[in-house]
Subunit: 108 residues, 2 copies
DNA sequence: GACATATTTAGGCAAATGGCTAAGTATATC
DNA sequence: GATATACTTAGCCATTTGCCTAAATATGTC
């Protein structure tokens, strides 16, 4: 079943939903959510975030690169340090709802 | 570095962020976003969604189970069919922002 | 009870993820 | 230009994802 052009989605929809999924995927990790939460308060350099997160700097750096590619954060270098900040503070808006959803899920 | 109890996050924060990440992770897939979008219009049985998505029914069923565990959809059986619907329509709220973020990312 | 339809579950496999160590790059200091 | 610090990239490995096929379950019909 569904071997050829059975569905209309296979052609038309992925563009929109793939793009959205990419952003959500970038956020869908505890460490990255923590980082985003921190950056919503103020910008931070990689070394500060590394200290707070408690993983290797290379790991934190990868998370930041991923968030950057998703368009969620931006960075600039000052001396030896690289500072990251939220590019779209509105990202924070939907966490309330996310939490609400989660509460329901846990109740079950 | 960061070998022992270096960070405060390692102990305290994961609980909150893990829960949020779980919800985002459940949504972070094009097919599941499509399904959620469809269900925001009206409830659907698995066979309808299967037809629209264009994957095997077993695959769609798995996606639905995943969404259900995340607390995003709920279902009930009527005869041979199982109907799914959104449990938290507010899930739809943050897609506008997600899209905004994405637009930025693509611009680069 | 045999049979068809709708759905889920199990098992397998290729690809993606997330972590680490180690090596490379860039900037500032001596 | 040697050295130290901050960061990124590469390579490796274990785990997770996502899809498929095949088998199991459940419900309704003959």
């Amino acid at each position: 079943m569904a071997k050829y052009i059975t569905s209309f989605m296979a052609q038309t929809l992925p563009v929109k939903f793939k793009a959205q999924a990419a952003v959500l995927k970038a956020l869908a990790h505890p460490t990255r959510l923590f980082i985003v939460d921190e950056l919503s308060k103020r910008e931070r350099c990689v070394c500060e975030l590394t200290e707070m997160v408690g993983s290797e700097m290379s790991t934190v750096s990868k998370h930041l690169t991923l968030l950057k590619h998703a368009g969620i954060v931006e960075d600039d270098k000052r001396g030896v340090q690289v500072f990251y900040r939220l590019k779209r503070p509105c990202v924070m808006n939907f966490f309330k709802c996310v939490t609400a959803v989660r509460k329901d899920a846990i109740e079950e």
